[in-house]
């Protein structure tokens, strides 16, 4: 990444505009994750509704960012690191939009869960998992704006922690369901929420890969350890 200014200063302003939009969108998504997690833990239906409504803003921002990126490609014909920046912006906004969708889905499930018996400890565990993902997102946005490939790589590695949290929760929910079939509906909702948070982590990881690509021109090698082992474990094993 070059930190020197372009001879055409309008080009710099265009790129700064796109960067600012990504940071703003990222901020909205960070808030959506934590609001969704809080609404779940506190059984706060109003906050859950708000998360669902705010997703429209996030979707609109993705469109705005893509329109800006198309404009810069058409009018400025970016090359080198500028080209990689614009390409990564398009992918990052798509990843952020998906994370927003998962937060919205958490809000929906919270609205349903409020009507059911509470599962002890699940809200807190899911909030901690959300917090871990939100922190990853916060760091990857910092890595993006500072062009810090090392920080992006660190975020990429941390996805394994989220995967492990998911695996632990998965086992816990299965245990609850085996203990008492009346827990099945709520545990299924809670499991989907856990799975969605785990998927958020994957999207944040994908953003981290885009940051590495933007800075170095090469995608990182696929050598991360996989923390999610549920697909390999036998469901009725020694849970």
């Amino acid at each position: 990444m070059s930190d020197k200014a372009h001879i055409a200063s309008a080009f710099d302003r265009d790129l700064e505009t796109i960067q600012a939009l990504i940071m703003k969108m990222g901020g909205l998504v960070e808030a959506a994750i934590m609001d969704a997690a809080r609404s779940l833990e506190n059984r706060d239906e109003d906050l859950a509704d708000q998360v669902r409504r705010n997703d429209k803003l996030i979707d609109a921002m993705e469109e705005e960012i893509n329109a800006e990126a198309v404009r810069v490609i058409a009018l400025r014909a970016p090359m080198g690191s500028d080209l990689r920046l614009v390409l990564s912006v398009i992918k990052i906004s798509a990843n952020l939009e998906r994370v927003g969708d998962y937060a919205k889905n958490m809000g929906k499930r919270t609205s349903a869960l409020v009507q059911m018996e509470q599962i002890e400890g699940a809200g807190g565990a899911l909030r901690r998992m959300s917090k871990a993902v939100e922190q990853m997102l916060r760091d990857v946005l910092d890595a993006y704006i500072q062009g810090d490939a090392a920080l992006a790589e660190d975020v990429r590695q941390r996805d394994a922690d989220v995967d492990q949290m998911y695996t632990a929760l998965f086992r816990q929910f299965v245990t609850y369901m085996i203990e008492d079939p009346r827990n099945i509906t709520s545990c299924m909702h809670l499991h989907f929420i856990a799975k969605n948070i785990e998927r958020m982590g994957d999207h944040v990881t994908s953003i981290a890969e885009q940051v590495v690509f933007m800075v170095t021109g090469e995608l990182p090698d696929e050598d991360r350890s996989k923390g999610d082992r549920t697909s390999y474990d036998r469901l009725t094993g020694d849970l």
Binding site: A5, H6, F11, G80, R84
Partner: protein, 269 residues
């Protein structure tokens, strides 16, 4: 039926060659005391369009002109090092520069047709090099060259009209046709489109793409977009040095040298 997607993916690559046509080693050029080209090593491939880019005064045109000894005409110019065409040193005393220039054709920035008929513009080179035994053969060469210059259909009914009566874009394609009439192996182009409008530019670029099936084409251009569009290899010159040389797709997406990066992204002039 083959998968049409695979066909289109193959045709661009199918032409790619790895045969070295021109090999330059340790080339230095001096204009008097001015060291204009410094330690240039480069292998230019056959059946490939190679673009030379770089800011004004970086030496790209000077180096291009070394390849057909155009700098011989400048008294104060001095060239050291080695430039081999198909393994033969073009600066060897036994090489006749006129014969060399028939093999290494050149097209200039401003279209420069001879003040003669369209026919004679093309026929001039083949005549002096004795490439045709009679009028019928010469007619054939003229038609073939004008077709390769992608201008035959526009001029076939007025071959006796002066070359200078054509539009700028047509004149430039006429000059390209003239350059290919002597059956060259290499075509050097020094900013061939800078005096042309966008449509004429597109026509010349299309022509360059067709020419690469037969020739090694080297083009100097100030338009990075043009280099990106027409070339398979790009060389970036800066202050007389060849800073970076590689696949055009790599140079424009992920250059290795920070000077190349600064230049292609519009950060240094």
């Amino acid at each position: 039926m083959n998968d049409p997607r695979q066909i289109s993916a193959q045709t661009e690559k199918a032409l790619d060659s790895n045969d070295i046509k021109i090999r330059a080693r340790d080339v230095q050029v001096y204009y008097g005391d001015n060291h204009a080209i410094k330690d240039v090593d480069v292998d230019i491939l056959d059946k490939t369009v190679t673009a030379f880019i770089g800011p004004s005064g970086c030496g790209k045109s000077t180096f291009l002109r070394c390849i057909n000894r155009m700098n011989d005409t400048i008294d104060i110019a001095r060239i050291e090092g080695e430039i081999l065409l198909d393994g033969q040193d073009i600066y060897d005393p036994s090489i006749d520069p006129v014969q060399l220039r028939a093999k290494v054709g050149m097209v200039f920035q401003k279209p420069n047709p001879f003040p003669k008929s369209i026919y004679d513009n093309i026929a001039y080179g083949p005549r002096i090099h004795g490439l045709a035994r009679n009028r019928a053969e010469l007619d054939e060469i003229v038609e073939k060259s004008l077709r390769r210059g992608a201008i035959w259909d526009e001029v076939k009914d007025r071959l006796d009209a002066p070359g200078t009566s054509l539009s700028g874009g047509q004149q430039q394609r006429l000059c390209i046709a003239r350059a290919v009439a002597t059956e060259p192996e290499v075509l050097l182009m020094d900013e061939p489109c800078s005096a042309l409008d966008p449509i004429a530019t597109a026509q010349v670029e299309e022509l360059i793409d067709e020419l690469r099936a037969r020739y090694s084409v080297v083009i100097v251009t100030h338009s990075m977009q043009q280099a990106a569009r027409v070339s398979q290899r790009t060389a970036f010159f800066h202050l007389g040095n060849l800073v970076e040389y590689g696949l055009t797709s790599d140079i424009f997406t992920n250059p290795r040298d920070s000077r190349t990066e600064s230049y292609i992204t519009g950060r240094i002039g």
